[in-house]
C-alpha cells in the first residue's frame, strides 16, 4: 500500500503524465477536432475515420481517457501536496531551538571572529543589521555570557510550489464545474426578431444591428448589436454589445460573435424592353413572383446569393458580404417556364437573353443583417480565475523568494570582547545570499577586529 501511495504521489509519475499530456495534445492539433464527417473521410478515408471515432480522436480533449489523465494528474498533485504538508507546517509552527557551535561551523556559509565590542553592543548591531535586511529574529538561548539567535526570512518561497500545485487543482476543478454545469449556444437573430435563451427562461431581442467598414475597404471596423433581455415579458436589460464587450445578465454572457446577411432580402429587378429604355423597377423578395403589366410574363425571384461563385455547376455564396450579389430569375410566359437566368448587380450587361423581348437587371437589393451571438454560462469561471491568480503567485514565490536562515552565537570572551559565530543557508540564489551574508558580517568589523 505504501509503495502504491509513494508511486501515485511521486514526481516521476507527474513527469510521465505531463509528457503523455503534451504528446496527446500535439495529436489534437494535427487531427482536426470536431470537424464534419465529410472532412475526415475526405482527408483520412473511411477506415481511419472509423478508427478515430472509436478512440474519440475527433474530440479528444473531451474524451474519457484524456479526462482520465487529467484526473490522474489531479490525484498525483493532491497526494503530493498532502505529503508535503507536515514538513511545511513544521516550518511555520515549530519553536526554534538553540544550536551548538559545531552546527554553525558546519553550515554552507559561516564566519567566526572576535570583535572589540561588548556583548550588548554586538547584539544590538546584529539585531539592527538583520532587521534592515528584513529577517525575523528569535532569541533561542540567553545566558550571562552566551546568547544564541535564529533569524530567517522568505518562508513564503517554500510555500511557492505548494500554492502552485493547489492552484492547478483549482483550475482543473473550475474547468470541470464549467463543463458539467455550464452551456454554450450559438444563435443567429435577424434585426427585430426575438429568440429565447436556452436553460434560462429568458428572451433576447435584437433591436438594431450596425456594421461599419474601414473607409475604402472591405474590412469590418466594428459591428454592434443593440440587445434587449426580456424576463417574464418585461424588459430587464438594454445593452449594445460588440466584439470584446459582451452583455452579462445573471451569470449569462452574450457575445457578439459574428454576423451575416440575413435571409430576408428585398430585391429590385429592373425590366426593360430594350437597352435604350430605362425600364421599370419591381421590388420582390426571394421566392416572390411579380407580373409585368401589359404582358403575359411573370417573374419569380428564385434565389439570391450575396457573393456569387460557381464550383462546377453548383452555385453558392463565397461569403456573407455583398461582393457579387446575384439573383436567379424564373420567367414564366402564360404560366409556363420560359427562361431561367442569373442577373448580377455588378455586371448588369452580362448574360442578356434572346428568348424574351425584355432585359432583366438586378438593380438593387436590401438585406437585413443577422447578428451571430454566442450565449454562454460558465459557473466555474471564478474558480478558474482564482486558480490562475494563485498559479502566478505560487510561481513567483517559488522562483523569486529564497528561504534564508541564519544562526548566530554571541559569546563574551573578555572585557569588551565578543566572539560572534554566525552561519546560514538558503534554498536558492546562493550568490545573492553570499553577498548579503558578507554585508552582515562586515557590519561588525566596521570598528576593530580583535
Amino acid at each position: 500500500m505504501d509503495r502504491i501511495k509513494k508511486f501515485f504521489s511521486s514526481t516521476r509519475l507527474a513527469v510521465v503524465l505531463l509528457v503523455i499530456l503534451a504528446l496527446i495534445s500535439i495529436v489534437g492539433t494535427i487531427i482536426i477536432q470536431n470537424g464534419s464527417q465529410e472532412v475526415y473521410v475526405d482527408k483520412y478515408g473511411p477506415g481511419l475515420f472509423y478508427f478515430f471515432k472509436l478512440f474519440s480522436l475527433t474530440d479528444l480533449y473531451h474524451s474519457w481517457w484524456f479526462l482520465g489523465i487529467l484526473a490522474l494528474l489531479s490525484i498525483n498533485l493532491g497526494l503530493c501536496s498532502l505529503n508535503r504538508l507536515p514538513s511545511l507546517l513544521r516550518l511555520f509552527a515549530q519553536p526554534k531551538k538553540g544550536v551548538e557551535d559545531q552546527y554553525i561551523l558546519g553550515l554552507p556559509l559561516q564566519n567566526k571572529a572576535v570583535y572589540s565590542v561588548n556583548m550588548d553592543r554586538a547584539f544590538t548591531l546584529l539585531e539592527e543589521k538583520l532587521g534592515e535586511k528584513n529577517y525575523r529574529l528569535l532569541l533561542t538561548g540567553r545566558q550571562p555570557a552566551d546568547v544564541s539567535i535564529f533569524a530567517e526570512k522568505g518562508r513564503l518561497g517554500r510555500l511557492g510550489p505548494y500554492i502552485t500545485h493547489l492552484s492547478i487543482l483549482l483550475i482543473l476543478l473550475g474547468g470541470m464545474i464549467g463543463g458539467l454545469l455550464g452551456f454554450k449556444e450559438y444563435v443567429e437573430i435577424d434585426e427585430g426578431d426575438t429568440v429565447s435563451i436556452p436553460h434560462a427562461g429568458l428572451g433576447l431581442r435584437l433591436e438594431d444591428f450596425a456594421l461599419e467598414y474601414y473607409p475604402d475597404s472591405k474590412m469590418p471596423k466594428d459591428y454592434k448589436s443593440a440587445l434587449v433581455v426580456i424576463n417574464g415579458g418585461k424588459e430587464v436589460l438594454r445593452k449594445t454589445i460588440e466584439v470584446n464587450h459582451p452583455l452579462i445578465y445573471k451569470g449569462i454572457w452574450i457575445y457578439q460573435s459574428s454576423y451575416g446577411l440575413g435571409r430576408v432580402e428585398t430585391l429590385t429587378i429592373n425590366v426593360a424592353k430594350s437597352d435604350t429604355m430605362p425600364g421599370q423597377d419591381f421590388r420582390a423578395k426571394t421566392g416572390e413572383t411579380f407580373s409585368i403589366p401589359g404582358t403575359d410574363l411573370k417573374v419569380k425571384v428564385a434565389r439570391f446569393v450575396p457573393d456569387f461563385v460557381m464550383a462546377g455547376s453548383e452555385v453558392y455564396s463565397r461569403s456573407q458580404e455583398p461582393d457579387n450579389p446575384a439573383a436567379q430569375l424564373e420567367v414564366y410566359e402564360k404560366d409556363k417556364l420560359k427562361l431561367t437566368r442569373w442577373v448580377f448587380y455588378k455586371f448588369p450587361d452580362y448574360h442578356q437573353n434572346q428568348e424574351i423581348d425584355r432585359q432583366f437587371k438586378l438593380s438593387g437589393f436590401e438585406a437585413l443583417h443577422y447578428s451571430g451571438l454566442l450565449i454562454v454560462k460558465d459557473p466555474g469561471v471564478a474558480v478558474v480565475w482564482t486558480g490562475c491568480g494563485l498559479l502566478v503567485a505560487g510561481l513567483m514565490a517559488t522562483f523569486f523568494i529564497s528561504h534564508r536562515r541564519l544562526w548566530a552565537i554571541l559569546r563574551k570572551t573578555g572585557e569588551k570582547k565578543t566572539l560572534i559565530l554566525i552561519g546560514g543557508r538558503t534554498n536558492k540564489d546562493r550568490l545573492r545570499f553570499e553577498e548579503e551574508f558578507s554585508r552582515i558580517t562586515d557590519h561588525f568589523s566596521g570598528g576593530s577586529h580583535g
Binding site: 505531463l18 500535439i26 489534437g28 454554450k184 470584446n244
Partner: protein, 260 residues
Amino acid sequence: MDSSLLFGIALAAYGLSGLLYLFKRPGPGRLIMIIGLIAQTTGLSIRAVKAGHAPFTNLYESMLFFSWSMVVVGLYVERRHRTKIAGPIVIPMAFLATGYALALSPQSKGITPLMPALQSHWLEIHVVTCFLAYAAFALAFGAGIIYLVKERNQKAKKKNLTLLDELSYKTIALGVIFLTLGIITGAIWANYAWGSYWSWDPKETWALITWLIYMIYLHLRLRANFSGRRSAWLSVIGFAAVLVTYLGVNLLLSGLHSYA
C-alpha cells in the same frame, strides 16, 4: 524618420555587435547592441503611432517585436544575474529575426487596421507577456546549444558549463512566469471576445504544450542526477515548441488565432 530605416540601423547594429563579441570585444559589443535596441525601440514606437495600434499585429511587426524582446531580456538577465554571456547569446538570434522581418515582401509590411476582435487592451498585455516568454526561452535555447557544443570539446571548463546550465535554468524560470501570464491573459481575453477561456484552439494548445515541456524541465531538475546535457537538450526541444506556437500554428494550421 521612417521606421524601416531605424530597423535597418538596428539590424546593422546587431550584426556589428555580434562581430565585436566574436572578436572578443564585449564592451563595445554590448554598447552597439544597446544602440541597436534604442533604434529599434524608436522604430517600433513610430510604427505604432502611425498604425494607431500596438506594433505586433502581423508577421513583420511581430518578428521585429520578437527580436526586440530578445535583446531586452538578454540585457535584463545580464544585469540581474551578473553575467556577461546573455548578450552574445541573444545577438545572433536578434540579428536573424530582424533580418528576416526586413526581408519580407513589401505587402507583408503594410499597415492594416485592426479587425474588431483585436480591438482590445488585452492585445498589448497578452502579446507582450507571450513575446517576453518566447525571448526568455530563446535565450535558454541559445545557452543550451552552446552548452552542447562546448561539452563535446574536451577542453571545456566545468565552470563554464555550470554557468551556462544555471543561466538556462534561471532564464527558463523567468520564461515560465511570462508564459503563464501570457496564457492566462490570453484566456481572460478569449473569455471576453470568444465566450470561452479555453477552446483547445491550436495556438492555445501549443502554448500549453510549450508550458508543459518547461514544467517537465523544471521537475526533472529536482532530481540530483539530471545532467546538464539533458537539461540543454530539453531547452532545445522547448524552443522548438515555442517556434511551433509562434510561427508553426499560424503558417500550418488554422483556427481562431490566424491573424499574424
